[in-house]
């Protein structure tokens, strides 16, 4: 937390400078107080090539600390890349604690940012803060989780993978593999997105689905998570498939399967280099890729277009970034991209 606070302080300072640079841009809504506080000579230093730059500041608030989570790290990377491309100042942060995430959104509102990107893993907890942003005239785009509520909350659109549909996709793949008894491994508490994935799996899968909660160890104690999955495989001899919902948990499940020595098929949500290696080697059947880089990149572009041209994307429907299936056929190419931290 210290780390992200310091980062946001630096970002806040940068944001003030950016507002000064862009003082004459039409869409800038920089508060008068901050403009007055900035020294005059910095205005003269404003680079000339920033004609297209609107001096916008967007805030990204997600339900996990993006600095500590491999998945959210890629989302943040996408948002940063888009922000750099469009000359936008991006503030980003997040917390697994819904109260902290809501506070972050409200901080952005008080900060009068030009757009907010928020993931709604816990919509009820975020509802009031998002509404406050919308009421303040700040465009909001929801990402990742929250496809069911984005309209009701007044967000322009939602960018993500509908978790239920993605889960359905996994179920169909498992049917093709001829499995009968599958574990759906939940690694975070209080994330409805994970439950919806398991719901989708239950919907299309012909066999039985059992939910297995490893949130006590999660990604903070991978060896412990692996041990728990191994215990579960020992206790439930009829399990022949596992669906994990995070790439690091997939690695833990793979170790557990190898230790038990039974033929249990593994599939996972989301990618990592290790997951791609395992798919290439045939140890993991497939991965559901929601292309989370887009969930960072696209909202920044959409908010930019909304700010400078009042465009809205999606026509009231969510913009889907997945599910894409990564299997042995395309793992090698995607591996190269994942190594760069963009897949």
């Amino acid at each position: 937390m210290n780390h992200s606070k310091r980062t946001s302080l630096i970002l806040a300072l940068l944001a003030i400078l950016a507002m000064v640079f862009a003082a004459c841009a039409p869409a800038a809504q920089a508060p008068a107080g901050e403009e007055a506080a900035a020294p005059a000579q910095e205005e003269a230093a404003a680079p000339a090539e920033q004609v297209t730059q609107a001096g916008l500041t967007f805030g990204l608030a997600v339900h996990s600390n993006p600095a500590e989570d491999s998945f959210w790290g890629v989302v943040e990377r996408g948002a940063k890349d888009a922000a750099d491309t469009y000359g936008i100042t991006l503030k980003s942060g997040g917390s697994g604690d819904p109260a902290e995430q809501a506070q972050l959104v409200e901080t952005y509102v008080s900060d009068k940012v030009d757009g907010i990107i928020v993931s709604l893993a816990n919509p009820d907890a975020l509802k009031d803060s998002v509404k406050r942003a919308v009421d303040a005239g700040i465009p909001v785009i929801t990402i990742n989780s929250g496809v069911d509520v984005f309209k009701e909350l007044g967000a322009i659109t939602h960018v993500g993978q509908t978790e239920f549909v993605a889960g359905q996709g996994a179920g169909e793949q498992f049917n093709k593999a001829g499995l009968t008894n599958v574990l759906c491994v939940i690694h975070e508490e209080g994330n409805i997105g994970l439950e919806q994935r398991c719901d989708g799996l239950e919907d299309t899968f012909n066999g039985t689905v059992e939910r297995f909660n490893v949130a006590t160890t999660g990604t903070r104690d991978i060896a412990g998570t692996s041990a728990s999955i191994q215990d579960k495989l020992i206790a439930s001899a009829d399990v022949d498939g596992i669906l994990t919902l995070n790439p690091d948990v997939a690695g833990a499940a793979l170790d557990a399967i190898n230790a038990v020595g039974r033929d249990v098929k593994l599939a996972t949500f989301d990618l990592s280099p290790a997951v791609l290696d395992a798919i290439e080697a045939g140890d993991i059947l497939f991965a559901i890729d929601q292309q989370q880089y887009l969930q960072g990149y696209l909202p920044v572009v959409f908010l930019y277009l909304y700010n400078v041209n009042l465009n809205t994307v999606g026509g009231g429907n969510p913009v889907l970034t997945g599910p894409g299936i990564v299997d042995q056929s395309n793992a090698a190419q995607i591996k190269e991209l994942a190594a760069q931290g963009t897949r």
Binding site: N2, E68, S70, I222, A223, S228, Q230, D231, D255, Q340
Partner: protein, 364 residues
């Protein structure tokens, strides 16, 4: 109960012989031993199929070994009167340093692990110095270390790999031997064990020997009981405390390396929140938060109870959603049992000793 013919001055009950039962009841780990038996028997009744037998034992020790190694180091520190909240995240830091230096800088894994050890001991030394020199509670000092390391784990890893994990540790030179030494899978009597459990048992014995049989052990108890009083009788309390912080950091290093070689990778979130689990294990094992009391075997058994709960709940098929509640109840019960047995045992053994010194004339 023979009466001797000589008649020395009446013996002091504080140094009287207690007898085997009395000695056992006075041990700090008595509550933990009882608790472990209760938990084991409970799961043996509820889910005997996979629980009873060596297979069940293998699963339990897998879930408790690395936790146990940390718990005994934390127990020593707690007996010495201090906390280390950075112990959990330190396992991540050590694992990441060794992983990053070997995969990114191309060092031999052993060299990388040695540098990680040096760094861990340095952090332990700084923790100790800060606590001793500033007089601030170790809770605060190590909380700060916790946050600094937590941020650095992520910051450095992302800076060097563009990701929040280090993978491919198994491809570096020296990995094979390191895996053999620190944590590999072996088959004993047809069951697969991770060798971390051997480290765990050996370290428990060493810690117990230090506490019971060396002057360092006396120093640790004395420092935790009352550091000023200890200094007044010549115990180097400052040195003891710093050594204990370094021991905890060293144990965290060992666990970090064990995770590296087992998982062949390291994640930046490793160990966050685990520090409380170590403290819980030490407390279940009879350590007092105020210091000066506790045992290494107790902490090891505390970790064992924790591992049993983790495995047992899965074997029974209970929703693991309730795991933390179970842990909380267990902690409370363990502490109450510890309190009760300690009070009873002291009252009982003191009475026994008194009775003995009054009815017989013990040797001086």
């Amino acid at each position: 109960m023979t009466v001797t013919a000589t008649s020395p001055p009446k013996a002091d009950e504080r140094v009287a012989e207690l007898g085997l039962v009395g000695i056992l009841l006075r041990r700090p780990e008595v509550g933990a031993v009882l608790g472990a038996l209760v938990v084991w028997v409970f799961f043996a009744i509820v889910t005997p199929e996979h629980w009873i037998g060596l297979g069940g034992v293998a699963r339990i020790v897998d879930s408790s070994s690395t936790l146990g190694i940390m718990a005994i180091a934390v127990a020593l520190l707690m007996i010495g009167g201090e906390f280390d909240l950075s112990a959990g995240v330190m396992t991540g830091t050590s694992g990441l340093i060794a992983g990053l230096l070997s995969t990114q800088a191309g060092l031999n894994f052993w060299a990388a692990a040695a540098i990680a050890l040096a760094f861990a001991l340095l952090v332990g030394y700084i923790n100790g110095m800060m606590v001793v020199k500033t007089g601030l509670p170790s809770f605060i000092v190590t909380l700060a270390t916790f946050f600094i390391l937590r941020g650095a784990n992520v910051g450095v890893t992302k800076m060097l790999t563009d990701q929040v994990r280090v993978s491919g540790i198994d491809k570096v030179a020296g990995f094979g031997l390191a895996r053999q030494v620190f944590n590999t899978e072996i088959t004993l009597f047809g069951e697969r064990f991770w060798t971390a459990f051997i480290w765990w048992i050996v370290l428990t014995l060493i810690a117990t020997w230090i506490l019971q049989r060396t002057h360092w052990g006396n120093w640790i108890y004395a420092t935790g009981g009352d550091a000023n009083a200890a200094r007044n009788v010549g115990v180097p309390a400052t040195k003891v405390k710093i050594a204990l912080f370094m021991t905890t950091a060293g144990a965290a290093w060992l666990v970090g390396i064990m995770n590296d070689v087992r998982l062949r990778s390291a994640v930046a979130s490793q160990g966050i929140g685990q520090e409380f689990v170590y403290i819980i294990a030490a407390v279940i094992g009879g350590c007092l938060l105020t210091g000066g009391y506790g045992s290494a075997i107790g902490a090891a058994i505390g970790a064992l109870i924790f591992g049993m709960a983790r495995v047992g709940i899965v074997f029974v098929g209970w929703p693991t959603d309730w795991f933390f509640s179970f842990l909380g109840v267990m902690l409370l019960v363990a502490v109450l049992v510890n309190n009760y047995t300690r009070a009873r045992a002291e009252a009982m053994t003191t009475a026994m000793a008194k009775a003995r010194t009054e009815t017989e004339e013990a040797e001086p």
